[in-house]
Amino acid sequence: MIRSELVQKIADENPHLYQRDVERIVNTIFEEIIEAMANGDRVELRGFGAFSVKKRDARIGRNPRTGESVSVEEKYVPFFKTGKLLRDRLNGK
């Protein structure tokens, strides 16, 4: 399923809304999640899962082709953990 198919499903269920409003609604939800993580916040959606930010320490990396060592700065990466309800549903519980 891709973004446009998701929008279509929501639009079908809500005939009183314009398609472009449904698009804005769906985009707002995903934008809000990215914005929260960019601020270092967590987004916890019970039953679905939680988005959070993890810190990766600085390390000495290696260029795999040349074997040369390069320093990699500390960085922050997005992380998602599946919620219990969805995990159970995936396994037919």
Partner: protein, 100 residues
């Protein structure tokens, strides 16, 4: 980092501000987005949201696990797990937003 936790309420508040539906309708829409995504995943489909990321389903084989406390062997049954791969855009925004 501010270490806040956002919930469905914050997402529906954002929808409310953006589109001007009632708070109730906004909450309902957030819920239907999540449930359509969940249903697709449970049906074994992956969910690809451009410039956000991809949720996909992986099958894990059965294996013998171990209770780390007692050392006892326990069978782990085959199962399905979901993984999330963030888009480059999300990675970049999270990296630059948290940079000190």
């Amino acid at each position: 980092m501010s270490d806040k936790t956002l919930t469905r309420m914050d997402l529906s508040e954002a929808v409310f501000r953006e589109v001007g539906l009632s708070r109730n309708d906004s909450a309902q829409l957030v819920e239907s987005v999540l449930s359509h995504m969940s249903d697709a995943l449970v049906a074994g489909q992956s969910v690809k949201i451009s410039s956000f990321g991809t949720f996909s389903i992986r099958d894990k084989a059965a294996r013998i696990g171990r209770n780390p406390k007692t050392g006892q062997e326990v069978p782990i049954h085959p199962r399905r797990v979901m993984t999330f791969r963030p888009s480059h855009l999300m990675k970049d925004r999270v990296a630059s937003g948290n940079k000190r």
